[in-house]
Amino acid sequence: MGTRFEFSLTAIDTARWRATLADPACGGYAAFEGWVRNHNEGLQVQRLEYEAFEALAANEAGLILAQALQRFGVAHAACVHRVGELAVGEMAVWVGVSAAHRDEAFRACRFIIDEIKHRLPIWKKEHYRNGDSGWVNCERCAQPGAHQHAPPR
């Protein structure tokens, strides 16, 4: 059983990551790719940048992946997240899970991406076609309570 998390400054090599999950005891593999979208909340996005507090994010990601193994009984789980500048259409995050059967692989994959989004100290700055830019959840939604962190678990 294994887990692996990394940050990447360059394009994610999904074939290499998928290969890390190979296991003759596994009959199911599920993966999720998050892509940079060209619009958000009514604005046209041209490019974006991700910034992370890498030490804490890596620790927290390790906990999330270990929880996925324990909770869903999957064999292997891995995640890689980009940092730095990304263009529209690029892959920002990849999650992959292998398991004996498909049901737990799908469920664990969904659990991991949801937790990654809520718990990891990663920030996204969007640059818009109109010339504006902003840190998502920090500037355009400044009212307290609008975008709270997930409670600690």
Binding site: A55, N59, N137, P144
Partner: protein, 82 residues
């Protein structure tokens, strides 16, 4: 009043508003909450403490935990990974 030397790292919006990636501060602040209030008087931070989480020595921490000399503090704005 005793002071302690704290290393503060800034990310994302806080980094831009502080104008630096981090700083060493000599502070009488007892807790991380006190420290953020103190730093807000020096930097134009727009985020209220209620929108942030705090990490001490690369671990999520309670705002009321007493700071110790040499601690590394990071204030964590609302996240947006994935």
């Amino acid at each position: 009043m005793s002071t302690r030397r704290i290393s503060v790292q800034y990310y994302a919006l806080l980094r831009e508003q502080a104008g630096c990636r981090g700083e060493q501060v000599e502070t009488a602040a007892v807790t991380a909450a006190d420290l953020y209030a103190e730093l807000r008087r020096r930097h134009p931070f727009t985020l209220d403490a209620g929108m942030l989480r705090v990490a001490v020595n690369a671990q999520f921490s309670d705002w009321s935990r007493p700071l110790r000399d040499g601690d590394a503090v990071v204030f964590i704005p609302p996240v947006a990974g994935g």
